[in-house]
């Protein structure tokens, strides 16, 4: 039980970081497609859609990398929390307007994720961000007193299909 308490924050942090790195990388590879996804929300005009499509994936990538690596975790988590709030607002507005669109959150390989489902997913990410923010960047203390990183953090995949 104490093991869960010790390692859960690390697992949550690494998983959240991986999800955002993955989300960023897939969108960096296809900015035009992502601009289309943003345009589908019918919130931003033409050029701002492209501007957001150009910048947002990099914000996701860098903040994801920070919390994944354990460096400047709080700052990275603040950015990710703010992003999640924006995503949730956009998805809620799409759901309220009954827009039949794909959320555009990840490159889902043809599978469509409805705004409502994506909203629920973002609420989970928001809760994970809260865990990361409250536990901070310190690794949990080892029973023996070592301050070493308790996880080699390799294969925690954030792939969402």
């Amino acid at each position: 039980m104490s093991g869960v308490k010790r390692y859960l924050p690390v697992v949550v942090r690494v998983a959240l970081g991986a999800v955002f790195v993955y989300a960023g990388v897939t969108k960096i590879a296809d900015p035009v497609g992502f601009a289309g996804s943003i345009a589908a929300y019918q919130v931003l005009p033409y050029f701002p859609s492209y501007l957001v499509a150009a910048v947002l994936p990099w914000v996701e990538l860098f903040s994801g990398l920070l919390i994944l690596s354990g460096y400047r975790v709080k700052a990275g988590a603040l950015v990710i929390g703010a992003l999640n709030l924006i995503f949730i607002a956009a998805l809620a507005s799409a759901a309220v307007r009954g827009l039949d669109i794909d959320c555009g959150c990840f490159k889902e390989g043809g599978a469509k994720v409805s705004p409502l489902l994506a909203l629920l997913r973002d609420l989970v990410f928001l809760a994970m961000t809260a865990v990361v923010l409250t536990t901070g960047e310190k690794a949990p203390p080892e029973p023996g007193g070592s301050a070493g990183h308790p996880c080699d953090c390799t294969e925690t995949s954030g792939n969402q299909m």
Binding site: A40, F47, Y50, A54, V55, L61, A75, D100
Partner: protein, 175 residues
């Protein structure tokens, strides 16, 4: 007391660092995509005010440029644009953008020949669409049209569902 002060200091520091992350990402993102942004910017400048085609789709483009709902509607209103429905004929018959012609992707692939009305020349602005963002047939068809020599090809990615939901003109029947 001191602990509260430290927490406050820590939060301010993290907020400052968060701002740096945002600025740095913006710098990298804009530099990385500067060509695309420049194209999009030009498209905006020649868009609604001039009543002309956004300059983002060029003959040299490998992929057709996507259009949002409003841009598609502007070109629809301008009237000299042909909307091409990439869905199958059944879907087309049950509802399509007003004035659109049907050219199912499967047909365009099979025949290897683009069967479009005679008034359509390679210079005509054409916009392909299908069933929204979950559907990639319009992008595929757009690529085929570009290869076939059509110079101004856009993909309206919101497709029929978004157009219909926006209350814009649709019609049934025909093919």
């Amino acid at each position: 007391m001191k602990a509260t002060e430290n927490t406050f200091k820590g939060s301010t520091k993290a907020a400052g660092e968060a701002l740096i992350i945002l600025l740095f990402s913006a710098l990298v993102g804009i530099s990385w995509n500067h060509t695309l942004l420049l194209k999009a910017w030009k498209g905006e400048a020649t868009g609604p005010a001039a009543g002309t085609t956004p300059a983002v789709a060029t003959a040299a483009a490998e992929d057709p440029m996507p259009l949002g709902l409003e841009q598609a509607k502007e070109l629809f209103n301008a009237g000299d644009t042909l909307f091409i429905d990439a869905r199958d004929r059944g879907a087309f018959a049950s509802g399509h953008l007003k004035g659109a012609v049907s050219l199912p992707l499967a047909d365009a692939k099979q025949r290897g020949k683009i069967a479009l009305p005679p008034r359509v020349t390679p210079k005509t602005t054409v916009i392909t669409y299908c069933n929204g963002f979950s559907c990639h047939d319009s992008m595929e068809l757009g690529k085929i049209l570009l290869k076939a020599g059509y110079t101004t090809v856009y993909v309206y990615e919101g497709g029929f569902p978004e157009w219909r939901d926006a209350g814009y003109p649709v019609e049934k029947g025909g093919a």
